[in-house]
Each structure stands twice: as structure tokens, then as C-alpha cells.
């Protein structure tokens, strides 16, 4: 033991030295680029340098960590120190959505968005208290491994494989989507090309070295992403508050935002713009009521308008616009209903005053209806928080990371470090949202269209999906109600809002890329392992040699990656909402069976199967019948499927988790208790080191 202890310590010191040098080198690299920018290095070049340099770096780490050893390939040799495993988990955990989208989500949703902040951090309490140390003692390679050993036979393992692939695949498509988006933004390459460039970066790493290469790359990626996130926020904080620690001082900024909100709610110009939106919504609703007759009249009106403009010799631009209206006009009364309903809800959405940022569960409704909506929002907030937390403690690519520490105690400490490193970003995001909101409410609103702040002018011309402004009431002044923001812009535009040089914008993009790549790496490995280790080795060919196992695993990894990239290149924008849903699916499928498997000896095979099938089943059923995307695909009428207790489909795990737990308990009690061997396995995982223990589950 003493030998391993000193070897581990030496390894830790060596890693610390490497990564300190690496961090210093990276900062120097950014400073050199900043100096070159001052000497006139073009922006496109800065983008290319960031893209090429970071991907080469990750590939370099991948090549240095290449391996064909099973334990190295699946669990990095089980010698990753707690601190570094924490950083790797942080990068594994924080996806493109956390890095780029979250602050924007908080900007748009205010208090209610904080469900994501609490859910995606508090889940680690469940990881530590219920799973990580016990899974580490169990010490095999995958999560289905545990289900297979604890509940015997292949059925529980197979359900685990299905669920692991189901939630990881949608998640990985979202990451590769993010990679394509950032690459094309950074370099001007086409989206499809960007996807495959990013994919190459992911593959060199995980293909050559499996978990070992992924771990050391993820540590490197965490360092880049946290530097990239912090610099602009700190700078913006100095600009607005004069203090470089935004997390400590944004309470005062939040108060000022609240005052501005009150002012903007009653400002006559704002009221005027909102009234215009309300009128447009009412107009659309009137047309919907008049269907199908209104469709014919409206179509005739549009055609007549083209004629009128032509006879009146109107400007060519006006005529073209009118012609376009005719060409795009809904082809049937049914299409018209859909198009107008979309118009009505889009306009109605912009007709209300700004929702107060600091107020929990806000609503514009008053009296009893308002109270009802508040209660419904509160219920959804709690349900979403719970689903995200339990889902965190059930996502296979996260739980797998705790197999890689040298001991049970290191696994416990490693969960602490994971949460600490995630916390650094998550407690900054709400501050960033408030700071940007203050800047928008105080400096952007009220500026004249002729003289907009530079970043507003620049971004609204790049991508109207991120930022669009139009002078609705034609007064030449920008009102709050005339601005529409996409959530990704908050992080992307912060360097410019803070007045930083372009090199920092490049750094932020590189950080987003690191977040997306690191998560994609972990997910791809999970899917490939579920297929190669759990399906091929454990179920099809248990006699396969170790070389063959690693080789099969690498081939499958390549296939999965290419499939995911192909799906992504089709731009499936409308399935990205499923990422949130992955948490509910994982929560319902895995958590009850894993936690009860450790804490309740009496849980048996029929119980676990019933719990997983019912929990996952009801969650999938609720999603399939309540998400508009699936309702359309399945041809269901939304009116036939009202929400249960008003719970939105993203939180459908709220039904699956308790049902799964209940089913395991009831069915287990109705069937014989597990055999002695299984009970000894449970005792084995409960104690870090049981002297005289005859069970040994450690896989090498």
C-alpha cells in the first residue's frame, strides 16, 4: 500500500507541474495573439489560429495517451487523482448549452431559470451520497455492469444499455451541433464542414486513448473554458460596478435593474410599442376565427395589393415585398391557421411588460388567474429542479467518471472537486445575466437608431436569430419592446459589450468549443462502451481477447461518431429540446434501480426490471404525447392530452421516478429475496475495505 501511496503522490505532483505549465503557456498564447491583433492581425486569422491551435492541442494529448490496455482504455487505469478527476468531470459535465446558452436563459427567464442552476449543481449531492463511492468500490467499467451484477442476468443490463444509448445519443447530437455552430462562426467555414472538423478533434482523442486520453484532454479543456468564461465577466463587472468580483456585488446591480423594470413598465413609448404588438395579435386571432372565409379574402387582398402598387408605380422594393407575401401565402386554410396561430402567439408574447427579473414565479395576470399561474409555475420549478438533480445522478457518462479514481475515499473527494469546479461557472452565470440586463436596460434602450451601441449594430446585422431590432412605432428611438434577443448572444457578445478586443471573442468561442468537445467525448465513449463492452463482450462473446475487445470498441466508437455527425449535419434543430428531456429519461431509468440496489438488500431482479420498465415507460409516454414535436409526428390532437397537474413535458421524470421506486419496492416484496451471493455483493460495495471479504468485483 505504501508503494502505491507514494507512486500516487508522485503522479499527482507530476500532473500538477504539467498543467501549471500548460495554463501558463495558454495565457501567454492569448497575450501574444492580443499583441499581434494590435499590429493588425485580421480577425479571421485569429479565429483560425484559435481553432487550429486548440484542436491540435487536444489531438496531441490524445496521441500521447494512446493505449490498447483494457483498464486504461475504459477507466484510465484507475489512478486519476480526485482533483483532476473533478476538473475532467467539470468539463465532461458542462456542455455547449451550459457555456453559451445558460446565462442567456437566465437573462430571458429571470428567477425561474435558476431551476437549472440549482438542479445542475445540487444533483452532485445525490451523486456523492447515493452512488459514487459505492460504484467505485464495485469497480467495473460501465453502469450497465452494475445493473448486470446486482440484478443478475441480461435483462436489467439490456434495459440499462437501451436507456444509456437513448439519453446519450440525443445529448451528443446537441454537442456536435454546438461544435459545428462555433466552428462556422469562428472561421466562416460552412456548418457541415465545421461539424466534421470538430469531429476529427473529438475522434483523435477518444479513438486512440479511450477514457485515458479523454480524461487528460478534459482537464486541459476545463482550464480553457473557465478562463474564457471568467475574463469577459470580470471585465464587464469592472466597467459597471468598479469591482472585479461580479459574484459578490451584483446584488446592487439587480436592485438597479428592478428599478429600471418599473420605469420601463409604465414608460408611454414602451406602452405604445406593446400596444402595437397586442393589436397585431388580436388581428391574427380575428383572422383565425374567420377561417376559412378569411383565408380567401386575405389572399385576394394580398394579390390586389401587388396590382395596386404596380399601377401606382410604387418603388420596386415595395412591389417585391408584396410579391413575396403572395408567394409565401399559406397554401390552404389549414396552413393559414397554423401560420396565424404562430403570428398570434409571437406577437402576444411581446405585448406584455418586462417580467421582473428578481421576482419568483412572476405573472402579468391578476386576481385568481394570477394566483393559479403562480402556483403552476412554482410546481414546475420544483419538478424541473428535482428532475435535473436526479438526472445528474443518473447520467452514465458522469457516473462512469468515478470508476477512474484510485480509491473509494478519492471518489468521495472527487465528487466534491467536481462540484467545486462546476460551481465556479454556475455561480457566475446569474451574475453575467444581471450585468448584461443592466447594460441593455440602461445603455441600449433609449439610444437612437441612427446611433446604436457598436455591438448592437454589429450583431443584429450578423444573425437576426440572436439579436433583432426594428423601429415598431417609427419614433427613431429604440424601446425595450423593440428588441428581441436569442439566448446565445449573452455570452457571445459579452466581450464586445465590455469593450474588449476581438482576441477575447475568439477566446470565448474557443471556450465554447472546449465545452462542447469535452462533453461529446464523454458521451461518445459511453455509447461505444455500452455497445462494445456491455453488448458484445458481456452478452455475445465473453471469451473475446482483451485486444479484440479494445479494437471492437474503437471501431464502434468510429461508427457511432460518424452516425452522430451525419444526424447533426441534417441540422435537426427541432430535436435539440430533447437535451433537457435526457435528464428526465436518465433519472427515471437509472436512479431508482441504482440507489435501491445499494441501499436496500431486498431489491431483486423482477423488482428492478419492473421499476426500470415502468419508470422509463411512463416518462417516454408522457413526453411522446405532450411535446408538440411528437404530437405532430404521431398525429395526436393536443386537446386530448392535457398536462397532468400542469407539469411541462421537460419534467416528465417527476412521474417516472416515484413510479420506478414504488414498482421496485412492491414487486421485490412480492417475489423471493435475492440469493446470498447478491446480498454479499451489496455488503461488499457498502464498505470501502472489508477485511476477510471473499467477494471481488474489481475488473482489471
Amino acid at each position: 500500500m505504501a508503494v502505491t501511496a507514494s507512486a500516487n503522490r508522485a503522479f499527482f505532483n507530476q500532473l500538477r507541474k504539467y498543467y501549471t505549465w500548460y495554463t501558463g503557456g495558454f495565457i501567454t498564447f492569448v497575450i501574444v495573439l492580443a499583441i499581434l491583433e494590435q499590429f493588425g492581425l485580421p480577425k479571421v486569422w485569429i479565429g483560425y489560429v484559435f481553432l487550429v491551435a486548440t484542436i491540435m492541442l487536444y489531438a496531441g494529448i490524445g496521441i500521447m495517451s494512446r493505449t490498447a490496455d483494457v483498464a486504461e482504455y475504459y477507466v484510465a487505469g484507475r489512478r486519476v487523482p480526485a482533483l483532476f478527476n473533478g476538473m475532467a468531470t467539470g468539463a465532461d459535465w458542462m456542455s455547449a448549452a451550459s457555456f453559451i446558452g445558460m446565462a442567456g436563459g437566465l437573462y430571458l427567464q429571470g428567477f425561474d431559470g435558476l431551476a437549472f442552476i440549482m438542479g445542475w449543481t445540487g444533483g452532485y449531492c445525490l451523486v456523492a451520497l447515493f452512488l459514487a463511492p459505492y460504484l467505485r468500490k464495485f469497480g467495473q467499467f460501465t453502469i450497465p455492469d452494475f445493473l448486470g451484477a446486482r440484478y443478475g442476468g441480461n435483462i436489467a443490463r439490456s434495459i440499462g444499455i437501451f436507456a444509456a444509448i437513448l439519453c446519450s445519443f440525443t445529448y451528443v447530437v446537441a454537442q456536435i451541433y454546438g461544435v459545428g455552430l462555433i466552428t462556422s462562426r469562428l472561421t466562416g467555414l460552412e456548418f457541415g464542414v465545421g461539424v466534421f472538423v470538430g469531429l476529427a478533434g473529438i475522434l483523435v482523442c477518444s479513438f486512440l486513448g479511450g477514457m485515458r486520453a479523454v480524461t487528460w484532454t478534459q482537464v486541459a479543456q476545463y482550464i480553457i473554458l473557465i478562463i474564457a468564461y471568467m475574463i469577459p465577466v470580470v471585465w464587464l463587472s469592472v466597467k459597471i460596478t468598479g469591482v472585479p468580483v461580479p459574484q459578490l456585488v451584483y446584488g446592487g446591480v439587480l436592485e438597479r435593474v428592478t428599478q429600471l423594470e418599473k420605469k420601463l413598465t409604465v414608460d408611454p413609448k414602451e406602452v405604445e410599442v406593446r400596444k402595437i404588438f397586442a393589436d397585431r395579435a388580436a388581428d391574427a386571432r380575428k383572422r383565425i376565427e374567420g377561417l376559412p372565409g378569411s383565408w380567401e379574402t386575405a389572399r385576394a387582398d394580398a394579390a390586389k395589393r401587388v396590382e395596386d402598387l404596380r399601377t401606382a408605380n410604387a418603388p420596386a422594393a415595395d412591389i417585391r415585398a408584396a410579391e413575396k407575401t403572395v408567394a409565401d401565402f399559406p397554401k390552404s386554410a389549414d396552413d393559414a391557421r397554423k401560420a396565424w396561430q404562430a403570428q398570434a402567439s409571437a406577437n402576444a408574447g411581446r405585448a406584455g411588460p418586462p417580467l421582473p427579473h428578481a421576482e419568483p414565479f412572476p405573472t402579468n395576470k391578476t386576481g385568481e388567474a394570477g394566483e393559479k399561474e403562480r402556483n403552476s409555475k412554482r410546481l414546475n420549478f420544483l419538478a424541473l429542479t428535482l428532475c435535473l438533480m436526479v438526472g445528474t445522478a443518473a447520467l452514465p457518462h458522469i457516473l462512469m467518471r468515478y470508476y477512474t479514481t484510485p480509491s473509494v475515499n478519492e471518489a468521495r473527494r472527487s465528487v466534491f472537486w467536481s462540484l467545486f469546479f462546476i460551481f465556479l461557472l454556475y455561480f457566475t452565470a446569474p451574475a453575467l445575466a444581471v450585468l448584461v440586463k443592466y447594460e441593455v436596460y440602461s445603455a441600449v434602450v433609449g439610444s437612437s437608431f441612427a446611433n446604436l451601441p457598436a455591438w448592437v449594430a454589429a450583431w443584429s446585422s450578423i444573425d437576426p436569430g440572436l439579436l433583432s431590432i426594428s423601429d415598431i412605432n417609427k419614433d427613431g428611438i429604440l424601446q425595450l419592446a423593440e428588441i428581441r434577443l436569442g439566448q446565445d448572444i449573452i455570452v457571445l457578445a459579452t466581450p464586445e459589450i465590455a469593450g474588449l478586443p476581438y482576441v477575447i471573442s475568439g477566446l470565448v468561442a474557443a471556450g465554447g468549443l472546449a465545452a462542447a468537445l469535452s462533453t461529446a467525448d464523454g458521451l461518445l465513449l459511453t455509447i461505444a462502451n455500452a455497445l462494445s463492452h456491455d453488448t458484445y463482450y458481456k452478452m455475445i462473446n465473453p471469451n473475446a481477447s482483451t485486444q479484440k475487445r479494445v479494437m471492437i470498441s474503437k471501431i464502434l466508437l468510429l461508427c457511432v461518431a460518424l452516425t452522430a455527425a451525419y444526424v447533426t449535419s441534417l441540422k435537426p434543430g427541432d430535436i435539440l429540446f430533447l437535451v433537457g428531456a435526457a435528464f428526465s429519461l436518465a433519472a427515471a431509468a437509472f436512479f431508482p434501480a441504482l440507489a435501491l440496489g445499494i441501499f436496500w438488500k431486498r431489491a431483486n431482479k423482477p423488482g428492478a426490471i419492473a421499476g426500470m420498465v415502468l419508470g422509463l415507460g411512463i416518462t417516454m409516454y408522457y413526453m411522446a404525447t405532450r411535446y408538440p414535436f411528437f404530437q405532430q409526428a404521431l398525429g395526436l390532437n393536443p386537446a386530448d392530452y392535457p398536462f397532468w397537474f400542469g407539469i411541462a413535458p421537460i419534467s416528465s421524470g417527476i412521474f417516472g421516478i416515484p413510479l420506478g421506486i414504488l414498482a421496485i419496492i412492491v414487486v421485490s416484496l412480492l417475489t423471493p429475496e435475492p440469493d446470498k451471493q447478491t446480498q454479499e455483493l451489496v455488503e461488499h460495495v457498502r464498505y470501502p475495505n472489508l477485511r476477510g471479504d471473499t467477494v471481488n468485483t474489481l475488473a482489471r
Binding site: L114, G122, T385, R412, Y687, N689
Partner: protein, 87 residues
């Protein structure tokens, strides 16, 4: 193998620690959020208390919970002789 009384006591103490920490986690997350509207009236260094807790306070408590758990369990392992030696 047969577990000794000492082993069983270790597990019971583990369960107790887990339960207490889980209770704190539950109060901070769900009870605080349930009462978010009345708590928003309280001013906490500029933040409404419920906003502060959801955005920062609860996160800090989660980190502390995990720090305490790792340390406490490490000591408990040694006390009951189920530690993994010097690793």
C-alpha cells in the same frame, strides 16, 4: 462473510450522516423554493433572499455538504477499520 456488530454500526452511522445531509439538501432546495415568494421580501445584501439562495447560497451549501461528507466518511472509515490503507 458474516458482518460483525462493528460493521453494522459503521453502516448505520453512514446512513445517519447521509440522512442528515440529505435533509439539509432538501430544505435548501425545495423548502426554500416553495416559500420563494414570501422570502423575496427579505433583502440580503441587495439580493432578495430567495434569489440569492437559488443563484448562490444553495450552491455554496451543496459544496460544503460534499466537503463535509468526504472528510467525515474518511475519518469514519479509519475509526471502524474499513479504510483502504494509505492510498
Amino acid at each position: 462473510m458474516q458482518l460483525t456488530a462493528k460493521h453494522k454500526e459503521y453502516w448505520n452511522r453512514n446512513l445517519r450522516i447521509t440522512a442528515v445531509l440529505l435533509f439539509i439538501w432538501f430544505v435548501v432546495t425545495f423548502v426554500m423554493s416553495w416559500f420563494a415568494r414570501p422570502l423575496a421580501e427579505i433583502n440580503f445584501f441587495g439580493w432578495p433572499l430567495s434569489f440569492y439562495m437559488a443563484a448562490q447560497g444553495s450552491l455554496i451549501i451543496y459544496v460544503l455538504i460534499l466537503y463535509y461528507y468526504a472528510n467525515k466518511m474518511g475519518k469514519l472509515d479509519i475509526e471502524y477499520g474499513v479504510d483502504e490503507g494509505d492510498m
